[in-house]
């Protein structure tokens, strides 16, 4: 199991490095069309063939993986920061603030995740520039995904606040902000890290769902959502297995996150 975890982490690092270097590794730009070769089979020039619009599928896979692999951790970081601030403050202050925050998390957790996401997404413009759509999609994931983590952090902060060393620090004259910053947050680090790591595959899966439904990252910018959307037009694709490359890579990467996660769950 330990070997599998190490393998998963190594694979994630390797794929992240390759995708970060997509500008140098990819044979062409994600938007470049080879109009004389639409829907082409794999060849030396196009390792995974081309899509219906003649764009190199391998290049799009690299760029799409980069978008999802860079921005899902970004969204996870945002949601963890929100959870740390909201849950940490509520757990530390206690009283009516804690009850209010717990009520708010109850509300957020009662709303089915995709219903909430598409409701807020619908409020924002749908016909927007690709880069704006990337920012909106992942910012939404980050801003709406804090509730479960905030609940965990609030409970942990409460138990840390009641512990002996905090009482001692209070008795030594430490104020609220100093207590939070110097004593409580450092002790919340393992929980925050676990919550961050748990959120990444959830956000990757959600972006894929939104992308396939046409509510995610806009064309021509690729993301896993838009790459998997290609499956929609495959009627007899089982004789063209290379078309499933994006799906295979997606499953491997998310599995690697789950495998690597098992170690992170232990300290929490």
């Amino acid at each position: 199991m330990k070997r599998a975890r190490i393998g998963a982490i190594v694979f994630l690092i390797a794929i992240s490095v390759v995708c970060l270097l997509a500008d140098f590794v990819a044979p062409s730009s994600y938007a470049r069309q080879f109009r004389d070769a639409p829907d082409a089979a794999p060849s030396r020039q196009h390792l995974l063939g081309t899509d219906d619009l003649g764009r190199d599928r391998f290049s799009r896979l690299l760029y799409g993986t980069r978008v999802s692999l860079l921005l899902a951790p970004g969204a996870a970081l945002l949601s963890c920061l929100l959870a740390a601030v909201i849950g940490g403050t509520a757990g530390f202050v206690g009283g009516w603030l804690e009850r209010f925050v717990m009520g708010a998390t109850d509300l957020f957790l009662s709303l089915p995740w995709l219903f909430l996401l598409i409701t807020v997404r619908a409020l924002l413009p749908l016909n927007i520039a690709p880069l704006t759509s990337v920012i909106i999609t992942f910012a939404l994931l980050g801003c709406l995904g804090w509730a479960a983590s905030a609940r965990v952090i609030c409970t942990d902060t409460r138990s840390i606040s009641d512990s002996g060393f905090i009482l001692l620090a209070r008795a030594s004259g430490s104020g609220g902000c100093r207590l939070l910053w110097r004593h409580i947050f450092p002790n919340l680090r393992p929980v925050l890290f676990a919550q961050f790591w748990i959120s990444i595959p959830v956000f990757i899966l959600t972006e894929a769902n939104l992308g396939i439904l046409g509510l995610g990252v806009a064309e021509p910018l690729p993301s896993w959502g838009s790459l998997l959307r290609e499956l929609e037009s495959f009627s007899a694709s089982f004789d063209q297995p290379w078309r499933f490359a994006a799906l295979a890579l997606f499953i491997i990467v998310v599995s690697c996150f789950h495998l690597a996660l098992q170690k992170q769950e232990l300290p929490a």
């Binding site: 509300l107 009662s110 619908a122 997606f250």
Partner: protein
């Protein structure tokens, strides 16, 4: 009894808060208060003015919320802008389809998940454990929309997808729970005294794990409803998931917010029922 009242009050407060958030979203949505009727060339200036005044009455957020609640009490959920039909009528047409899909999905997911978890935890057969863990792991890594697309390509019934979305979560949680329960001293004693596998499961393991499994049952309702959006949209099942997707693409906030609120109400009810059933002794005490 007081527990029941507390749960009912909690649901009501959350729904009121959710309603307020929903009303805020509808009120802030682009195009609010603009009526296509104003473009009708047959209307004179006075009629247009009257139309604008009827919208202006609910311009403040508070006023709009009170108006919205008033309508809600009367059972009027408004009219869908994109489909030009009353929301209650759309719900009446589509909710049974979703209930059928979600019910079937939950039944399939739970049957498969619990059966494999029991087989995996009790049989101690490495092949069964490996097979079910790999199957659950693979399905856990697959977006609901991709599964739905694969089922469309394979021309398989879309409702099965909901079961496959719920299954891995049930399997993983139940398996870990059962493995922990199997190692409990009272279970080991029962086994040492010669109790069979089925008897041990029924009398010694399931009663201990029932509250957690019931809590998971409540949560799985929310999972199934959330997954109904991509499944119904892509498999062309005419339920509220498909309706929510169409409303999102058409930016029909009135419809979308009401759908979200209703689904939230259903999941809250399911969670509360699971919570109450999971701790009947405490309920009896109170």
């Amino acid at each position: 009894m007081s527990r029941l009242v507390k749960h009912a009050a909690r649901i009501l407060i959350i729904l009121l808060l959710g309603g307020f958030c929903g009303a805020t979203l509808v009120r802030l949505a682009p195009g609010f208060g603009v009526d296509e009727e104003e473009l009708d060339s047959r209307l004179n200036q006075e009629s247009i003015q009257a139309l604008r005044q009827s919208h202006a009455r609910h311009e403040s957020l508070g006023g709009f919320y009170i108006h919205y609640l008033g309508r809600l009490i009367k059972g009027d959920l408004g009219t869908s802008r994109s489909l030009q039909q009353p929301v209650t009528q759309l719900l009446a047409q589509r909710f049974p389809e979703t209930l059928k899909s979600v019910g079937f999905g939950l039944a399939l997911g739970w049957t498969l998940g619990l059966a494999l978890a029991i087989a995996s935890a009790l049989s101690r057969n490495w092949f069964v454990d490996l097979f079910s863990s790999v199957l659950a792991g693979a399905l856990l890594c697959m977006p609901a929309a991709v599964l739905a697309l694969l089922f469309v390509i394979a021309r398989a019934p879309g409702r099965l997808v909901l079961g496959l979305i719920v299954f891995p979560k049930i399997f993983r949680y139940a398996r870990n729970l059962l493995i922990r329960s199997v190692a409990m001293p009272h279970v080991l004693t029962a086994r040492a005294k010669g109790a069979g596998g089925f008897r041990t499961l029924l009398w010694h393991i399931l009663p201990v794990t029932a509250p957690q499994l019931l809590a998971l049952a409540g949560v799985s309702v929310s999972m199934a409803f959330a997954a109904s959006i991509p499944v119904e949209a892509l498999c062309d099942l005419p339920g509220i998931g498909q309706l929510a997707w169409k409303a999102a693409l058409g930016r029909d906030m009135e419809l979308l917010v009401n759908l979200t609120l209703i689904v939230t109400g259903v999941t809250l009810l399911a969670n509360s029922a699971a919570d109450l059933l999971g701790s009947p002794s405490r309920m009896g005490e109170s």
